[in-house]
Symmetry: C2
Subunit: 137 residues, 2 copies
DNA sequence: ATCTTCGCTGCAACAATGTTGCGTTAGAGC
DNA sequence: GCTCTAACGCAACATTGTTGCAGCGAAGAT
């Protein structure tokens, strides 16, 4: 189990430190997106600032992406393979459960193309769905 | 000009205070969504906490709605007429300009319906578009 | 295996934003 | 005008974001 984490870090030319292995392992095991608070709760020893920078690094490298869910809290989830440094390609929707407050990537739902009024140039699009998830019905 | 603001406040059974009139007036004149910092800059005398509660009240009453744009900063814009207390009905997209950092409501673009996997119940949906706006081309 | 280098960590410190309590102020109805 | 109570404004605290810097440790070289 360690091996997959280490390999992934190495493939991105990142040092395989304890913190990074722990955080990345959490992401690989989690079924939903993780917020900072969430991670801190599971890794009690972890330093707040180090986690902040770890997530920033992971995002810049294209390992994780921000899952905007309208809850006001920033969450992150593993990227798909197409993502790389400086270029995220996560064109799927995110579902936010208002009961358990978890957010999951809906890989099966792609963000629909829309036509904008004259003068607007669009670079990316995000679709946020809110409701009640499977577990909370 | 004052009259429209006062009438709107009264129609929601809200006291017509100086702060509320000022804030609501800003919203009615602005072409894009407003964040707290933005409002504070334009109303220099305003108290930070009072503004916070004013916006919360306006949102609860259905006068303004949150415009999620993925920038991490919460912004607000006037609701359409269908919105009411405890029931927002803003099914339009929001466009965020990465240059001027303004967010505008795209009333012409409605959030498309999507079909979710079994077990999910959907209550609302939001569509965020990012790019460069008219003025920044 | 030990050394060296440089990226990473962890602490301090500060900024920005969100939130509640409470005494004072002022709007609305009488 | 007077009364009642909603709204204001200040203090105080919580949470989150961000940078600087000294010490640690992972990775490659010897
Ligand atoms: Mn995702
Ligand atoms: Mn809007
Ligand atoms: Zn749930
Ligand atoms: Zn712009």
């Amino acid at each position: 189990m360690e091996k997959a984490v280490i390999d992934l870090l190495k493939s991105y030319q990142l040092r395989t430190t304890t913190v990074r292995k722990q955080v990345l392992d959490l992401f690989m095991q989690s079924k939903h997106a993780l917020g900072k608070t969430n991670i801190e709760a599971q890794l009690e020893e972890i330093d707040r600032i180090t986690l902040y920078r770890t997530l920033r690094t992971f995002e810049q490298k294209g390992i994780i992406h921000e899952a905007v869910d309208g809850s006001g809290k920033t969450k992150y989830a593993l990227c798909s393979h197409e993502c790389s440094e400086h270029a995220h390609h996560d064109h799927h929707a995110h579902f936010y459960c208002s009961l358990c407050e978890n957010t999951v990537c809906m890989d099966s739902i792609t963000v629909p193309e829309v036509s904008l009024p004259e003068g607007f140039r669009i670079n990316s699009a995000q679709l946020i769905l809110s409701g009640v998830c499977q577990n909370c019905q």
